[in-house]
Symmetry: C2
Subunit: 137 residues, 2 copies
DNA sequence: TTGCGTGCAAAGGTTTTGCATGGCA
DNA sequence: TGCCATGCAAAACCTTTGCACGCAA
């Protein structure tokens, strides 16, 4: 996996570097486009989508769609093992997306598979609820 | 919950009856529109979207965004009041909704609250993944 | 030189919105 | 009668695609 074929270009390098620079943070295509639009080397929208799709296929980044369905988010995957990635909690009040690195949740994946036969795609699932700020505020 | 406010109309009744007729099956807005377009009483696209949104807010139906992210799916929830006691797994391939009554998942709720300060609304959360049939088939 | 990668613009599809009309209470 | 719901069309939106040019190998 991740054996990139084809030519290597400036846009490829910069896009991947940008995603790598903020591991555990997700970016929308629009955000990425806006970021580079503000630099001296903008990247076209089509190129961004084409490259994000390619990187997703190669398993280098992960794509996920929130329940709102507004737009897709992309995030760099630090570890090769997809299953040990972190989890997402979405506050229903303030809309904040919280990234959680938690072993107990990780075990749930095994439990779901072995006891319920369900192969949980943790990267796609979002836990809805109230964040600490909103509960106490 | 489910105390519907506002006026009652033919479109509302028919849309809900249509969704109720196939519990455990999901429908896209386009499918619903096509269904009624073929009858003597079509329902406008805007109305369908507005009503689906309302029904989702009221907890009568549930909205999903599948793997492809192409469009949203909507599904009638049977015994909505009972579903707060257990958990839901949605197969990303066949669309099947699996109801899970599981103590281990219940404990996660406590863990999320005590260790991460997040008050998980389990009734709203859906675990996405592959069901046993789709994994083995 | 070869042919993939890029950028622009246009198309594609889904969902939302403005506004006048229709219909429930 | 007072308002909410509906329907049409247009807009808004995200994403994909066609095509000519640029550029890596």
């Amino acid at each position: 996996m991740a054996s990139r074929t084809g030519y290597r270009t400036r846009q490829q390098e910069e896009l991947l570097r940008y995603l790598k620079a903020a591991p555990g943070r997700h970016h929308t295509a629009a955000e990425i486009h806006a970021h580079f639009a503000a630099t001296e080397q903008p990247i076209g929208t089509a190129t961004i989508y084409r490259r994000l799709e390619r990187l997703t296929e190669e398993g280098i980044i992960r794509k996920y769609v929130l329940e709102t369905g507004e737009c897709a988010c992309y995030e760099y995957i630090e570890q090769a093992d997809q299953c040990t990635a972190h989890f997402h909690c979405k506050c229903e009040r303030c809309g904040r997306l919280i990234h959680l690195d938690c072993d107990e949740l990780r075990e749930i994946r095994t439990h779901l598979l072995e006891h319920h036969g369900f192969a949980w795609n943790a990267g796609k699932t979002v836990f809805y609820g109230l964040c600490d700020r909103c509960r106490n505020g």
